[in-house]
């Protein structure tokens, strides 16, 4: 490997200058001739029956081109796994962001006026907003006719339980009896948001019977599939293009408003563009981080060995399932944690409520579940008088171990992550001793890699320059940009010779997009394979000219040379020029999906989340200060160690870890959705408090690089979500270290920390 080693000049992002100079174009920046401005009309009540929805006055307003409702689109239910929702509400609204109608008008102000003229009467229905109460027999149902929904796969459902999963291994109840100490704890995490910097925008333009949709999506192919499904169009008539994307963090995964705008543009007989306000970005998408209740009971021996665990998790699904069907099983895996536990019994339910739907926000379920289980782990360590690092040392999974779900691990580096993060923090504490209101905290975590189909086309042009045509989606991580480095390395050219054509479903082979840490893992394998096809062609051409064996041709520094004979070489550009007159240099590959491991635990409601491909591991160790008079906590240092396999792009990898940590600090301390009767009360950046650059602590990151087979290109695993998992947990343990008791609600706001101190005083 030449290009991809860490001692080379800093990684250059081809999209960087565009983004930092402002010349880059995001969806909201686009306009096309004759374009109308779209605005959606939202329910604004959490649960109710539509008594009247009259759009006459809105349609009659001068400057309005079209107003559409459920009557103007095919009447069908959609969503993966459990189709339970419509584009536009019909009869019942189940959360405040539900779309009632869409307006297209000559300008944004007229569109807004038209929305205000829509005459809506909604008879309130009882709001389901409490996870425990929603499970009771007498609870109102969010979906009266849930039994008629055509769910696919292993999806046990019952009344307000959208999906349920359990993981059982051994006999946890009997094993618990053999424990010396049993600890039970309960934790409650509030919901939170992805908060990408770019509120989403969608622009749709019909030409004949085909529509082009520019959209702020992390997953253009899924967005296309959603449009095709809901508007009943064949795949070939929908083209989705994503201009630059201003972040996503999962909030722009899935299919959202592309079909609304396409249907509206059709009705208006002209292109239509929707641009969300920040408030709409908070209220309407069916992707936000789920609130959660976690109850755990764990038995340990006096020398600190976990013998059994029982656990129950309730997850707030919100009004529609979106992509959350797998959340219970994933949450169950996380409250088990990366530990050797011989007997386990975990159950998790995804509960319908009248809240905004939950969906995959960066490492769905994991930060909250990890916060709960790792707080619980420190309580266990305390109960048997062990240091938290030592307790984990005795129980975490190592290479060759069998995890509690029965997966046997290949070479993994959790133990080294724990040692390295703890040592890095310890060194800092040795240098600068803990202050009077400071403490340290540690947490370990894990996260799966996801292997799915992805393709790539690569071509070398007549001057030796290269184009990669990929379905990968750049959501800001730099992962797509790394594809150029992989191709450059295979082809012996500079990354700057490579241009990436991406984010257009009409030109690129299908791929998962920017979701589930999958970009490099899947698209990287495809680009590598397609580039290799061209490299092979180049070697054949060079071999013929240089009278050497193709296997001896080395492609590097723009030259095709012969191994062992420094003199003999040809410029790759010259080979490309002659190929342009004969056989074109084209590569095209679909990377085979890696094989998933098997599990031995009994999994009810199996969603494939108990068998993890190339699991990633990490440990975060933090130093935190708490102001005992006010409860304000500040994270001073985070020492992270990650096993994400081989690291292909060190600068990008560090960026991912740092970003994940900062997001984790927000979840730990300040970011939480406040609800009242099912309605969000802090849907804006003034009251929903993200961390700012001024709050960022010192972060030190180490990678435990293990060349991992059956995973991503060159032994890599995923990395985008894992850094977001352990931070809040480590902070919780440090706060506990300062104040002496656990803060059992997330985020651990200043007032909650202060109340915990006050309660302990009583």
């Amino acid at each position: 490997m030449t290009v991809l080693s860490s001692d080379l000049p800093p990684f250059r992002r081809a999209d960087g200058p565009d983004k930092v100079t402002g010349s880059g174009r995001y969806t909201a920046d686009l306009s096309v001739t004759g374009m109308a401005y779209a605005k959606l009309c939202f329910a604004k009540v959490a649960h109710g029956r539509i008594r009247r929805l009259d759009v006459t006055a809105a349609r009659e307003l001068a400057g309005v081109f079209a107003v559409i409702t459920a009557d103007d689109v095919p009447d069908l239910l959609y969503s993966p796994v459990i189709p339970d929702r419509r584009l536009f509400a019909r009869d019942v609204v189940r959360f405040e962001g539900e779309v009632l109608a869409a307006v297209a008008a000559v300008d944004a102000e007229t569109a807004e006026r038209a929305v205000s003229l829509i005459d809506v009467e909604i008879e309130p229905l009882p709001v389901v907003n409490d996870l425990e109460a929603a499970l009771k027999e007498d609870s109102p149902l969010v979906h009266e006719d849930w039994e008629s929904y055509e769910a696919t796969g292993d999806t046990p459902r019952d009344r307000n339980v959208a999906t349920f999963s359990s993981i059982t291994k051994g006999d946890a109840a009997s094993a618990m009896d053999t424990a010396d100490v049993v600890v039970s704890s309960r934790y409650v995490a509030d919901g939170s948001h992805a908060v990408p910097i770019e509120p989403r925008s969608v622009l749709a333009q019909w030409e004949g019977d085909a529509v082009t949709i520019w959209t702020s999506s992390q997953v253009p192919f899924e967005a296309r599939a959603g449009v095709c499904e809901t508007l009943q169009l064949p795949t070939n008539r929908v083209r989705v293009i994503v201009p630059h994307l201003g972040g996503g963090f999962g909030g722009k995964c899935g299919f959202h408003f592309e079909a609304h705008v396409a249907a509206l543009a059709k009705a208006a007989k002209r292109p239509a563009k929707l641009v969300f306000s920040r408030e709409e970005e908070f209220l309407a998408p069916d992707r936000r981080r789920e609130s959660m209740i976690v109850e755990l009971t764990t038995g340990v021996t006096n020398d600190g060995e976990i013998v059994a665990r029982q656990g129950r998790v309730l997850i707030d699904n919100g009004a529609y399932v979106a992509d959350a069907a797998f959340f219970p099983q994933l949450a169950a895996m996380h409250v088990g944690g990366p530990y050797r536990i011989p007997a386990i019994e975990l159950e998790a339910s995804l509960v319908y409520t009248n809240h905004q739907p939950s969906g995959s926000v960066r490492a769905p379920t994991a930060p909250q579940a990890c916060w709960a289980v790792e707080s619980h782990t420190d309580e266990l360590a305390d109960a048997v008088g062990l240091d938290p690092v030592e307790f984990r040392r005795r129980n975490i999974v190592h290479t060759g171990d069998e995890g509690f779900a029965g997966q046997v691990y290949g070479e993994i580096g959790l133990d080294e992550c724990l040692e390295r993060a703890a040592a890095s923090l310890a060194a800092s504490v040795a240098e600068v001793p803990l202050g009077s209101h400071e403490a340290t905290g540690v947490a370990v975590s894990w996260w799966p890699s996801f292997g799915v189909p992805a393709g790539a086309n690569v071509k070398m042009q007549e001057d030796g320059s290269v184009q990669i045509i990929t379905g990968a989606q750049e959501c800001g991580t730099g992962a797509v940009m790394t594809l150029a480095d992989i191709a450059a390395d295979e082809l012996g050219v500079e990354p700057s010779d490579i241009r990436i054509v991406y984010q257009d479903t009409a030109v690129a082979p299908t791929g998962p997009g920017a979701t589930g840490s999958q970009t490099l893992l899947n698209h990287g394998r495809a680009v590598e394979a397609a580039s290799r096809q061209i490299a092979d062609q180049l070697r054949e051409l060079a071999a013929a000219e240089l009278e050497a064996a193709a296997g001896d041709i080395v492609l590097a520094d723009g030259q095709a040379g012969v191994a062992g004979s420094p003199g003999a070489s040809l410029a790759i550009a010259d080979l490309a020029a002659s190929a342009a007159q004969a056989d074109l240099l084209l590569g095209s590959a679909s990377a085979p999906v890696p094989e998933y491991p098997t599990v031995s635990a009994v999994c009810v409601g199996d969603q494939g989340m108990a068998a993890w491909l190339a699991p990633q591991f990490s440990c975060h160790a933090v130093r935190v200060a708490v102001d005992p008079d006010t409860g304000v906590s500040r994270v001073l240092e985070v020492h992270a160690a990650h096993d994400s396999g081989t690291i292909l792009n060190p600068i990008g990898a560090h960026g991912q870890v740092e970003g994940g940590i900062v997001m984790g600090i927000g979840q730990a301390l300040t970011e939480g959705t406040q609800l009242g009767e099912g309605l969000q009360r802090n849907a804006g950046l003034l009251e929903y408090k993200l961390q700012t650059i001024a709050d960022v602590p010192t972060i030190s990151t180490q990678f435990v690089e293990i060349d991992t087979p059956n995973a991503g290109p060159r032994g890599s695993k995923g990395l985008a979500e894992a850094p977001n998992v352990a931070t809040a947990a480590a902070i919780a343990n440090a706060i506990r270290g300062v104040i002496g008791s656990s803060v059992r609600t997330l985020p651990m706001t200043a007032e909650r920390v202060w109340s915990t101190i006050e309660e302990a005083r009583v």
Binding site: D629, T630, V632, R634, R681, E687, I693, E751, W754
Partner: protein
């Protein structure tokens, strides 16, 4: 909507006499409009180019701060940092660098929010606002200026040209601290300013005012029994803990905060006492000559720079 750009104070006063509202940095006015709090007025007069309003001047016995001085300038102005340190503490905490670069002290006090950061410091320093029309000029105490959340007693045609403050004597210090959940882009959840003068082991004058715990900035009453008593431990400006506690309790008792998304009333009442204690402590230490850099929130305690 019409926007007039004033090049002289008289331009501004003429426009205001004809019904225009002044706009300085626009960080309250424009943002409030976009948040749907209040529509933009039909006529605006921009006063941000009036250099005569953007100066801090020290005369023998009084300091005059022009209403157009930005927070970014206040936090580093030598006169403000040296003599009215609490104002610099407050200015340095406002929003973000962008907010501080355009937001002004005049806009801050005329907007009348109970969460304004420069308000409590100006109260404890005894500032008066100078209000001018085409035909008149008057001085008004801040207690009389603020009439409720977001309302001021100034007439629509009165331009605030600045603030005047009697130059504090030596052996005086002031400080402003506020509760912060994060270290930028924060709105005061509660805050407190203190102004302390001392002589020997006695506090000779003490004023404390509180941010965001009442409809307007609230000055703490009943501090007289603290004054002229032996109150210091040694000579370093360290006030005895009992005295600080007493001040904190008075602040907590006199606060009448609301519960909202940012905090409960109970928590606010408690924390404002903590803030009052810390403000008095920092002010007294500054009075005794200790260098506590601006803002106090970054110099000591949990929010300190590291």
């Amino acid at each position: 909507m019409t926007l007039t750009i004033a090049h002289t104070v008289d331009d501004a006063l003429t426009a205001m006499a004809q019904g225009a509202r002044p706009i300085a940095g626009g960080t309250d006015l424009v943002v409030g409009h976009r948040q749907g709090k209040a529509p933009l007025p039909a006529q605006l007069v921009a006063i941000d180019r009036l250099t005569e309003l953007s100066r801090v001047e020290l005369a023998s016995d009084q300091i005059r701060i022009g209403s157009g001085v930005t927070h970014a300038d206040l936090m580093i102005d030598p006169i403000v940092v040296g003599r009215l340190t609490a104002v610099a503490d407050a200015a340095a905490l406002v929003g973000s660098p962008a907010t501080r670069n355009v937001g002004t002290i005049g806009g801050n006090i005329m907007n009348g929010s109970p969460a304004m950061d420069t308000g409590a410091p100006l109260v404890v320093l005894g500032a008066e606002a100078v209000l001018r029309t085409e035909t008149s000029e008057r001085r008004v105490s801040l207690a009389d200026l603020w009439t409720g959340p977001g309302t001021v007693s100034a007439q629509a045609d009165e331009l605030c040209t600045g603030l005047v403050i009697s130059t504090p004597t030596t052996q005086h210090g002031s400080a402003y601290v506020r509760l912060e959940y994060r270290r930028a882009m924060e709105i005061a959840i509660v805050g407190a300013a203190a102004s302390v003068s001392f002589d020997g082991d006695r506090i000779t004058s003490l004023r404390v005012a509180l941010t965001a715990v009442a409809p307007t900035i609230r000055e703490v009453k009943g501090l007289d029994d603290v004054v002229d008593q032996p109150s210091f431990v040694g000579t370093g400006g360290v006030i005895v803990p009992e005295v600080l506690s007493r001040i904190g309790s008075l602040a907590s008792q006199q606060a009448t905060p609301i519960s909202d998304l940012r905090a409960s009333d109970r928590y606010r009442s408690h924390v404002v006492g903590v803030m009052a204690r810390r403000a008095v402590d920092a002010a007294a230490r500054r009075a005794a000559g200790e260098e506590i850099s601006v803002p106090v929130n970054r110099a000591i305690g949990i929010g300190a720079q590291r």
